[in-house]
């Protein structure tokens, strides 16, 4: 998992580089203004609810690093200014390993920004986490879909409100090609298949894919399989699969992988501009979508972070060189979304810590985050003001729109929640073998066999 997050983060982060300069200057400006505790100026009207926290400090530990840390700090500045509290951020690339060490050593921050539900469970299991107070819980009920509250809960107790989010269920395409050839964006899985056949009939390989990623090679297939599991069998069955209530080699996951195989192992569909089916294994995930620009490939399934991966000068917009559409559900009414998110887990029971958690769950914070643009644009807060997202990229706007859709059923990247022996080892390894020729049955059997007993 770590490698993947790191890679993604690095890519996402480079895209946000341009914005940083602006934001940093903003935040330094707000730092210069005098911090008047419980100020009653008009700006601070939204903050009176958090009370006067002058002299109090909240420490926040996170794996979010430069340049996104500046964006994050900028969203904290008004809170600091209006309540008088100091938010001390610690930004550390090796957060995911270090937070466990620090939990063992008893050297915990007040709040940790946890990017995976699996890690959240592990941290709560240390017994040192503090459940969210009722006010924060109510704030979350008001602003987020219930599935988000579930993700921040462990065994029915709500701990951590969500912060930012990202979306994986996207298919990249060339708007120009679609317009020229008269293709329409598919709204069901069947239409996606029809579209693929239509493109294949012209003699062009419609899909391009790549799963090479150093020792994490294979991970993009886990996303494919999760997307199809979610679409073919629904969120409940998906959860059972991720929790291992059903075996990895039971009929549903097997059929889901076979359904993915109808795309990725179909010589008529892949690998546009990159070779045969096997070339998927040797193509890096970064290079895999680029043939769309050359016109040798039409469709590429990859998460929103891929927006930062296009060469300089590529216009990523609904009327640009490339854009993405939502990977449709089985029917047009079903909107399952695969994605990621972050959760604010508290470790100290104090009014200022709880106030800060509640602040991040508020509409005020969501709007600030959207306003900052860059890699912090997307929040799953359904009451956030879409007008504030003007600075965000078109992809982020699409993600915000999809996440705020009441029909959306959000699910976390399942391989991240599986035990490491599966989610960051055998699943990748066997998926890679699957692409290079191993049968679906052997693949799911071997992954099932590797599940820790």
């Amino acid at each position: 998992m770590t490698t993947r997050t790191l890679v993604r983060r690095t890519i996402a982060v480079t895209g946000a580089l341009m914005l940083v300069a602006g934001v940093t200057s903003c935040s330094s400006k707000s730092n210069n203004s005098p911090s008047a505790g419980g100020s009653t100026s008009a700006d601070c009207a939204d903050y009176t609810t958090y009370g006067n926290l002058k002299g109090k400090t909240v420490t926040v530990y996170t794996g979010i690093v430069t340049p996104e840390d500046a964006l994050l700090k900028a969203t904290w500045a008004p809170f600091e200014k209006c309540t008088g509290a100091t938010i001390k951020g610690e930004f550390d690339k090796s957060f995911e390993a270090q937070i466990l060490v620090r939990a063992k050593a008893g050297n915990l921050p007040d709040i940790a920004i946890v990017p995976q539900p699996g890690l959240l469970k592990t941290l709560v299991a240390t017994g040192k986490a503090v459940p969210a107070d009722s006010a924060t819980s109510a704030e979350v009920d008001q602003n987020f879909a219930p599935s988000w509250k579930d993700l921040g809960s462990v065994n029915g107790t709500f701990y951590a409100p969500p912060q930012n989010a990202s979306m994986k269920s996207l298919v990249w395409y060339s708007p120009k090609e679609f317009k020229d050839k008269g293709y329409t964006i598919p709204t069901t899985l069947d239409e996606l298949k029809t579209l693929s056949d239509k493109i294949a009939a012209t003699g062009k390989k419609p899909w391009c894919a790549g799963i090479s990623s150093g020792d994490a090679t294979g991970w993009p297939i886990t996303d494919w399989m999760e997307d199809w599991m979610l679409r073919l069998y629904g969120a409940d069955e998906y959860d059972k699969w991720v929790n291992h209530s059903i075996a990895f080699n039971s009929p549903e996951p097997t059929a889901a992988l076979d359904a993915v195989g109808q795309y990725l192992k179909n010589p008529k569909y892949v690998n546009g501009g990159l070779g045969d089916v096997k070339s998927i294994a040797s193509t890096t995930f970064q290079d895999a979508g680029l043939p769309i620009l050359k016109g040798t490939c039409s469709l590429h399934r990859q998460a929103s972070f891929y927006a930062a991966n296009w060469p300089k000068g590529t216009k990523v917009a609904p009327d640009g060189d490339v854009f993405a559409f939502y990977l449709p559900g089985k029917t047009a009414d079903e909107k399952p979304v695969l994605g990621g998110g972050e959760f604010m887990l508290g470790f100290r029971k104090a009014p200022e810590v709880q106030a800060f958690q509640r602040f991040v769950a508020s509409v005020t914070w969501a709007n600030l985050s959207e306003q900052g643009g860059g890699g912090r644009c997307v929040t799953p807060n359904k009451n956030a003001d879409p007008a504030k997202a003007a600075n965000c990229s078109d992809i982020d706007k699409l993600t915000i729109k999809t996440l705020q859709d009441p029909k959306t059923v959000f699910r976390f990247d399942g391989s991240d929640a599986m035990p490491a022996a599966v989610g960051s080892d055998s699943f990748w390894k066997q998926a890679t073998n699957w692409i290079t020729g191993q049968s679906t049955k052997d693949t799911v059997d071997k992954i099932e066999a590797s599940w820790p007993k």
Partner: protein, 322 residues
Amino acid sequence: MSTAHKFLTMLEAVGLFVAVVGVILAGANRISGRRGDRVVAAVFLLPTVALVGVGLVYPALKTIYESFFDAAGTKYIGIDNYHKIFTDSDQLLVLRNTVLWVVITPFVATGVGLVYAILVDKARIEALAKALIFLPMAISFVGAGIIWKFVYDFRPDQPGVKQTGLLNEILVKLGGSPHQFLLNSPWNTIFLVIVMIWIQAGFAMTVLSASIKAIPEDIVEAARLDGVRAWGMFRYVTVPSIRPALVVVLTTIGIGTLKVFDIVRTMTGGQFKTSVVANEFYSQSFRAGNQGLGAALAVLLFVLVIPIVAYNVRQLRASEGR
């Protein structure tokens, strides 16, 4: 941690080291008397013994201990981890690859180095020729891995697509079709082994060349007078004379090959059935979260290295005793 802070920490550590050594030296200086020398020797040895104990002996014992425990390191499971290494199909593949590496690399690298050393010996461009083959030694394994990844790089044979890999470009220019060098087992392991040979041949060449030059001129002359030809000279004069050097080169490369990690990790990440023991040990310990199996693999690696080291030491003693 800012850069300045890091430097400060480093200076503190250096200062602490100097202080500790100073105290030891001062202490040793005050000891005198009949058995003073022994005490002084013991005092000087103490830091080394302590560091070897903390940095080597303790971790080694702890690793052996942990290899008998489960993935989380909490439950004793006997020899199950070792059983898995020798029965699980994926782990057997790892063993097979390691055997391929260890059998091929030392002999081919030493062979290439030896032939090269003899060929360029006393040639006019000897220095240049030697420098050329020695250069890869100066490149890190990761660097070499990246270079060769480009050499093996694959692009499909399609209109509008250009080959980026050196070998495939040559193949296409010769009228062939591009080949996926790193995908098909077991040949991909051989293509990885070539990288190691490319690095190690220079080392073999340098050591062997030096020891060829050390062969006394009178032996060579005597052999010539006896009518020995080129092959005979090689078989009966050169090889026996440089035997100790050959053993050192073979065993050194052999140990290095057993521990090979960087090349595999950089070029395939252990995918496509190319994993070796050292890479698998890393993946299991730090990625798959299976500490027990990782420890067992580390112990296995240690056990495999022992006979080579033992042989090396014996040969060294034998040649010294001569």
